[in-house]
Symmetry: C2
Subunit: 544 residues, 2 copies
């Protein structure tokens, strides 16, 4: 081909979620962007505030690809930072509000953020983390405190560093005619998201502008959203930038209903007041809704889509939530893949087993933008046969994958070995090409020489009428032979025996899958409700 | 930011529509991809045939970025070439089947295609064009003839070059285990589409893999398509690669209903047989449907979405089509922007004026992927004020814009002057930010020193009860003073006088807008139904 034209500025525009806000400010100018209690913004206003904030950040000395940290609940200011920080050419890192001072100090040392926005409720933990940091070699970031919009700052915080600023004062100093620092390279970083992880060290997954843009569009398809949805913020914005819905809402011209604290009452009130169309978050949301007292529940005549991702609660909870008028969806994903990659409706009476919550068959657009999705032998990298039996590792590749881990080339290399992201999850492929999740690679138990999926054993335990929750790990005896070990949390007011549980399992499982040991008690869970199996294993090692 | 990871093969995958077919072959493996009369393929089969075809092309000596031309109606083979050619690393150019031998020879000389696929119906015009080419310096491409699937080639074509091949024989020589030549750079060309243009010289708009991928996704949103639509091929695949629906159908796992000849009977039959969900094409489609004899019409209980783009027929036609059960949409776009950029529903009784068929307000996702869309002063490049009066040129920029014109740096540069694509269309911006189309820049008439939109005058003429169609251009008198000149086609069986028309206009338009001359007769239209105003102007110059 001779005389082929090449890309130019009219036909090659770097993909970045900033464009969504630019467009919303024109197309959806006067429509509501954010509602927070009595506070209300239009897309034009949100655009203007973000521009001002971006210009104020530059005045503070922020330069290209500097990191700006934020520790806040789902309030308008944290939403705005998701645009303002990238508009200033910088990188946002929204941090988990459940972190303790020690973990926070480790993360802040890794981030080397220049500025940190902090909600007034979280000042103490930040100052404590600064005390830890100051013993090290890294200078803590300059603080910008966010006060509650409808409360006068009722007290002056002691011990705040002298250069601490106030969000509103900072905003006022900004200029709305600011010229956006668009990324020169669409693969430049836009954000750092720490994984909630089930293991010790925090890992900062770095997202690119390109990835964030494409994953926002993918989310719209995966969650089957129409233009102008009303989104209730129950998923933390610090989780994969709110599963990328921070940006997707601007793409859709939707309305963000911000929420400082999630409770059944708050959810039902906001849903009913604003005709919420979508909400999502950890599976614990389902429990909160199912357990809501009758007085707090409200009718949902329009139907509300709720999507949860994580370790799923028992069947009954799903049924309860569906009966209240929610359409329930289940997602599968991880921080490295920018949130749920796959979303599918949960269907009552479908005989759905909770252990089989990936199904890559009729999913329509669910895997939009993820160019590769396969189950492979992690050593040979060969695709596993569609026999429903051969277990392999679930792997992804595509433009909606993180760039890698911050300051951790080694982990990044391992995660992307041979050009595929290793999820660490095991699965089988069925004849129809669908994939069934079997277990986390490290949670497989090798009992009597056979691989046992801990999830399959847990599913049987959860079907016991008295069991509320269960976790199964491998326990080694003195000869280093592994066998299933179950920790069981019984329902309130119930009691049973180890023998009863084992008998129940024997009737339903192959012998090598039946737990050899059973204990009753609380399961250690992290902030997303994930059972921390490594803690159970440690406890067993220490002799329980 | 220190220690930032960068893109790698696991998280940076070149965007190309080829991925849609790869995915459809897995996710929608056994679902119907193509139906053509009694012929039926699944997505797995289509994938296999495209791989074979790609490998056969390489065997013929096709190499990276070579051009493969095709001249065929909307048959399965042309659909397959849209994937097979790019899979071989080459560039597809589907040519207008209405071209005469002379124009075809000009295009073929410009393309320098190595291979040309030709449907049996179009062999004669191709051979004639070869005769013209052979007098020049360029070697005509090697031919591959496509015979009708259900007919034995009933005659041997005389005069075919000795190296001519047969599609099915070529396909049989291919290997389905072919390894796809994925684009190393996503901005590499994937196709060349000649504009139907209202001016003389054919211009080949070159699309990139990136643009085609993103525009396919954008089309899904613009046309409000759900997964697995049933698409009736009434828009020519040689128009912007079928408005990119060739590729979008694979992204959605939809079913392509191929159609050699468009007629009212064929459309109603296919719609009713296959539950067609979408069709689109030139506005003439609406006339064909509206004028269908009662015996050919069929009930459409499920509703069918029809989208037309081009010069719109009168109101009554829309009403008739809507009454038959179609939901009618109107698109605005051009070959350079890969088809309709903006699609909006036509609403009966909305007081919609046909001259105002762009409206950039509540459009939701319609401008998805087009990063810039504005009305600007073409000289100062300043955005026009939202006053509903100031006329400027409508301009675009974004990733779904062509790369440029083949072998025409000068035209490419002009089209993209200062980083924006100049549509040549004039419009105003309203207070609410919406845009109203006023006219083609070159169709504006400067009468008594005032700019007159020919479309506005035509709209008045079209509202005359006896007028079927009308075109207004500027006519210069001996003093080079311009005034409106109208050509009017009356409805069948109607007659009227010049005086009546002028009186009708005077009652509805400012004096300077009223046509000074009126003639009755046929309007010169091109293959898309666009009035060729330049032909009217030429005729006037030659004294009528």
């Amino acid at each position: 081909m001779k005389g082929a034209p090449s890309a130019c500025s009219a036909n090659y525009v770097s993909m970045t979620p900033i464009r969504f806000l630019e467009r919303a400010a024109t197309v959806h100018a006067d429509k509501p962007s954010i509602v927070y209690g009595g506070l209300w913004f239009s897309w034009k206003e949100t655009h203007g505030r973000c521009l001002s904030l971006a210009s104020a950040l530059l005045n503070l000395g922020i330069s290209h690809l500097d990191i700006v940290a934020a520790l806040a609940p789902n309030i308008p200011e944290l939403y705005e930072l998701h645009f303002a920080v990238p508009m200033a050419g910088a990188v946002i890192s929204a941090l988990n509000t459940n972190l303790d001072a020690t973990t926070l100090s480790v993360i802040l040392e890794q981030l080397e953020a220049k500025i940190m926005f902090v909600d007034y409720q979280f000042i103490e933990v930040v100052l404590n983390s600064f005390n830890i940091i100051s013993h090290g070699k890294c200078k803590p970031p300059q603080l910008v405190v966010i006060h509650d919009y409808n409360k006068q700052p009722s007290f002056i915080f002691k011990n705040l560093p002298p250069d601490t600023l106030n969000f509103n004062q900072l905003l006022e100093k900004g200029r709305a005619d600011f010229e956006i620092r668009m990324p020169t390279n669409e693969c430049d970083p836009i954000s750092v998201n720490y994984t909630s992880g089930s293991t010790g060290t925090p890992k900062g997954a770095v997202y690119s502008h390109r990835g964030a843009y494409l994953n926002s569009l993918a989310a719209i398809s995966r969650f089957d959203m129409k233009p102008m949805p009303v989104f209730l913020w129950t998923v933390d914005m610090f989780r994969c930038n709110g599963w990328c819905f921070t940006w997707a809402m601007a793409a859709l011209g939707g309305t963000n209903i911000c929420l400082r604290n999630v409770s059944a009452k708050a959810m039902f009130d906001e849903i009913s007041l604003h005709n919420v169309t979508h909400l999502c978050g950890p599976p614990a949301l389902l429990n909160v809704i199912a357990d809501a007292p009758q007085s707090e529940k409200k009718p949902l005549p329009l139907g509300v889509s709720i999507t949860v991702a994580g370790v799923l609660p028992p069947f009954q909870v799903f049924h309860k939530v569906a009966e209240l008028g929610f359409s329930v969806n289940v997602g599968y994903g991880m921080t490295e893949a920018m949130g749920p990659v796959l979303v599918r409706p949960w269907k009552p009476n479908s005989g759905d087993e909770l252990t089989e919550h990936i199904s890559y068959g009729d999913e329509g657009l669910t895997l939009f933008m993820m160019e590769g999705f396969d189950v492979k032998d992690p050593n040979t990298m060969k695709s596993t046969p569609c026999d429903g039996k051969t277990i392999g590792e679930i792997m992804f590749r595509g433009n909606t994958m993180m760039l890698g881990y911050l300051k951790n080339q080694q982990l990044t290399k391992e995660a992307f070995r041979e050009g595929w992201y290793r999820t660490g999850d095991l699965g089988t492929k069925q004849k129809d090409g669908s994939i069934r999740l079997k277990d986390r690679a490290k949670d497989m138990i090798y009992s009597s020489g056979e691989a046992v999926s801990s999830l399959e054993v847990e599913a049987v335990l959860l079907s016991h009428p008295k069991v509320l929750n269960a976790a199964v790990v491998g326990k080694y005896d003195e000869q280093m032979v592994e066998s299933p070990f179950a920790v069981i949390k019984l329902k309130e007011g119930c009691w049973t025996t180890v023998e009863d549980i084992i008998r129940f399992c024997k009737a339903r499982l192959d012998t090598h899958m039946v737990p050899q040991s059973v204990v009753f008690g609380d399961l250690p869970v992290n902030s997303t409700g994930k059972v921390q199996k490594f803690l159970i294993r440690e406890k067993i090692k220490c002799g329980g």
